[in-house]
C-alpha cells in the first residue's frame, strides 16, 4: 500500500436533497489500494456518499478526484469505478455471461478480449459453471458473486460496495466476507465499502470512517477506532456490548465520580491535572477485571449482578454500582447468578477519557 498516492479524494462535498442537507463539507482521502469502510447507522448518508463518488448523484458543491483526476462532472462509466449493490441488481433477462459482458460491450471492447476477461473473472469468483444461467436460477450468494464479477471484468481502479452482504444469511455472509478480503489481497484495488455492520467493518477495513448525520466522526484503522475513539459517539457506536460510560471529574490525577476513584496513571494524555470541567470515562466491558485479576487492579469496587447472559464462549454480566449500570464480560464457565455481589477491578490504562461537554477525547 502506497500511503502517498491518493486514489479517491473528496473535497468539501455538499449534497442536498431539496432542503435536506444529507452531506455537509465532507472531506476524505482514500489511499491507493486501501480497503476503506464507511460505517454508520441507517440514514447517515453512507450510500449517498458512495453514489456521489460513483457519479450516480449530482453533487451540490465540492469536488471529487479519482487518481488525481477531477471527476466531479464525469459520467459513472468514465470514472474507473465498479459498483456492487445490496440487491445485486443483476439484469434479469441476461445470462450470467451477458451480465458480466454488458459493461464491456458498452465500452466497445473487442470480442475476444471480452471472452478473456469474463473467463478470468469467472475463474477468480468460481462461477464458471453458472455462466449460461439466468440470475433467477441462482442463489443469493451466487448472485452477489456475479455482481462482484461485473465490477471485476471492467478492470477498474476503485470498487464501490453498498452493503453487498446485507441480503445474505449469516453463514453465507461470513463466508463471502472472507472471500472479499482474499479478493482484495489478490487484486490490490482500492475498495470503498459501505456497511452498518461493525463486525464487517472491523474485519475487512484497513481504515474505517464512522459517519453520523452526513459527517465523518472519526477516520482511522480498526485498532484506533476501537482503542482510541475520538469522541463519545464513536466510543458508544463501536463495540458490542457498548462501552461503559461513567460521568465525573478529574481530581488530582484521578477520575472521580459515582463514588469511584480511578487512578489515571496509565492513561496517556497531557491535561490530566488541569482539566476542570465535567468528563466521562469510557471503559470497555472486557477491561473490567473479574476473578483473580481484580487484585492486580488499582481501582476496585463491589457491584450487584442484575442480568446474566450466557453466550457460550463468554458470559455477559449486567450489574449496578449504586445508580450506575456496568456491563462486563466473564469466562463462559463462570457461575455467577442474578443477585450475586461481585468484586471487580478497572483497567484504566485502556480506558478513554472524554470532555463531557464537547464530547471529544482528552
Amino acid at each position: 500500500m502506497n500511503i502517498n498516492s491518493h486514489s479517491v479524494e473528496v473535497r468539501d462535498l455538499d449534497l442536498h436533497f431539496g432542503e435536506v442537507k444529507v452531506l455537509q463539507e465532507l472531506n476524505i482521502d482514500i489511499h491507493e489500494g486501501e480497503f476503506l469502510v464507511l460505517l454508520g447507522s441507517s440514514g447517515c448518508g453512507k450510500s449517498t456518499l458512495l453514489n456521489c463518488i460513483a457519479g450516480l448523484l449530482d453533487v451540490t458543491d465540492g469536488q471529487i478526484f479519482i487518481k488525481g483526476q477531477n471527476v466531479t462532472w464525469k459520467e459513472p462509466s468514465d470514472r474507473g469505478i465498479g459498483m456492487v449493490f445490496q440487491s445485486y441488481a443483476l439484469y434479469p433477462q441476461m445470462t450470467v455471461e451477458g451480465n458480466l459482458s454488458f459493461g464491456l460491450k458498452n465500452a466497445r471492447v473487442a470480442r475476444d478480449e471480452i471472452a478473456k476477461r469474463v473467463a478470468r473473472a469467472a475463474e477468480i469468483l468460481q462461477i464458471e459453471p453458472l455462466l449460461k444461467r439466468k440470475p433467477g436460477a441462482l442463489s443469493g450468494g451466487q448472485r452477489q458473486r456475479v455482481a462482484i464479477g461485473r465490477a471485476l471484468v471492467r478492470d477498474v481502479d476503485v470498487f464501490l460496495f453498498d452493503e453487498p452482504l446485507s441480503n445474505l444469511d449469516a453463514k453465507l455472509r461470513t463466508d463471502l466476507r472472507v472471500e472479499l478480503k482474499r479478493l482484495h489481497q489478490q487484486l490490490k484495488n482500492t475498495m470503498i465499502y459501505v456497511t452498518h455492520d461493525q463486525v464487517e467493518a472491523m474485519t475487512l477495513a484497513d481504515r474505517i470512517a464512522i459517519m453520523k448525520g452526513g459527517k465523518i466522526m472519526q477516520l482511522g484503522s480498526p485498532d484506533e477506532i476501537y482503542n482510541r475513539p475520538q469522541n463519545i459517539y464513536v466510543a458508544g457506536f463501536i463495540g458490542s456490548p457498548a462501552m461503559n460510560m461513567i460521568e465525573g471529574r478529574i481530581d488530582n490525577g484521578h477520575f472521580a465520580g459515582h463514588d469511584l476513584s480511578l487512578p489515571l496513571d496509565g492513561y496517556e494524555f497531557e491535561r490530566t491535572d488541569h482539566h476542570a470541567g465535567p468528563v466521562a470515562i469510557g471503559i470497555r466491558p472486557e477491561h473490567v477485571l473479574t476473578g483473580d485479576a481484580v487484585e492486580t487492579a488499582a481501582a476496585q469496587a463491589e457491584v450487584e449482578v442484575q442480568i446474566v447472559e450466557k453466550l457460550g464462549s463468554d458470559t455477559l454480566v449486567h450489574s449496578t454500582l449504586g445508580s450506575l449500570n456496568l456491563r462486563f464480560r466473564m469466562d463462559g464457565l463462570s457461575r455467577v447468578t442474578e443477585g450475586d455481589r461481585l468484586r471487580i477491578g478497572f483497567d484504566t490504562s485502556r480506558a478513554s477519557l472524554f470532555d463531557a461537554v464537547t464530547e471529544t477525547r482528552l
Binding site: 440487491s87 434479469p92 454488458f102 459493461g103 471492467r154
Partner: protein, 305 residues
Amino acid sequence: MVDATSPTAGRILEGPRGSKPKSRLSRRNIFLYGTLLLVSIYYLLPLYVMIVTSLKGMPEIRLGNIFAPPVEITFEPWVKAWAEACTGINCDGLSRGFGNSVKILIPSLILSISIASVNGYALANWRFKGSEVFFTILIIGAFIPYQTMLYPIVIILREIGLMGSLWGLVLVHTVFGMPILTLLFRNYFTSLPEELFKAARVDGAGFWGVYFRVMLPMSIPIFVVAMILQVTGIWNDFLFGVIYTKPETYPMTVQLNNIVNSVQGIKEYNVNMAATLLTGLVPLVIYFVSGKLFVRGIAAGAVKG
C-alpha cells in the same frame, strides 16, 4: 417418534387423516355457482341473440321469435355487411371502414406507446430540469374532459392540413393517449429496482442503452397492458372518428353506425347484427390473444434478478 404410517408400527391410529373432504354440493357452492351462472346468462344472452339473428334470413326474422335458433343457417348477412352494405354513396360494406380503422390503429398504437414509454422512462429514472412540471401538466391533461378540446383541435388540424385525413386522427389518438399511458409507464418503471438502473449506468449504458437493453426487456407486461388499452380505446372510438374524418376515411365504428342507423329502405336486422359483430371482433381477438401473453409476461416478470 413412532411412524404411524409404517407397517412396523404395528398399530393403526384411529380417526380422520389427510385433507378434509369437501362436499361439492355445499350451500356455499350452490350459491356461488348459481350467481355466476345467472350473471353469465345475463351477459351472454344479447350476444346469443346477435349471433342467431345474424345467421337468419329476413323472412325468418319477421316471424318474431328472437331467441329461436336459425332454421336455415345463412352467411348472406355477413357477406353483405362486409362487402355490400351501403352508407351514403359508397356500397362496399364495412370492409372500407375496417381498412381505415387498421390504418388508424397501427400507427397510433406504435406512436403513442413508443413515445409514452420513453416519456415514462425519462420521468421515472432521469431527473431532468422541469421534470416535475412536465409530469404535473401531463397529470392535469389526463383529467381535462376532452369534449372541451374538440373544436380547438378542429382548428389545429385544419391549420396543419390534416383535417379529414387518417393521419389527423392518428395524431389526435396519439396525443390523447399520452397522459394516461405516460402515467402507466412511469409508475411501472418507478416500481423497478432503482439499483438496476444505477448498475446499468455504471456499466456505461446511456439513455437509450438503458432503455432498450435493460428496461424494455423487463417491461413486456406493461407494454401488453398499454396495447390492450390503446387497441380497445382507438378501435372503439366513435367521437373523434366522426368529427375529424370524412366519409372516405371513416373508421369502422362510424361506418357501422351509418349502416345500422340508415333510414333508407327496410331495416335488415341480420345485416346489422353481422356488422356489429364484425366491428367488435378486433378487440375481442386482442383480448384472447394478448390475455395469454399478458399472463406469460407477468410470470416472466416475477423472476426478479
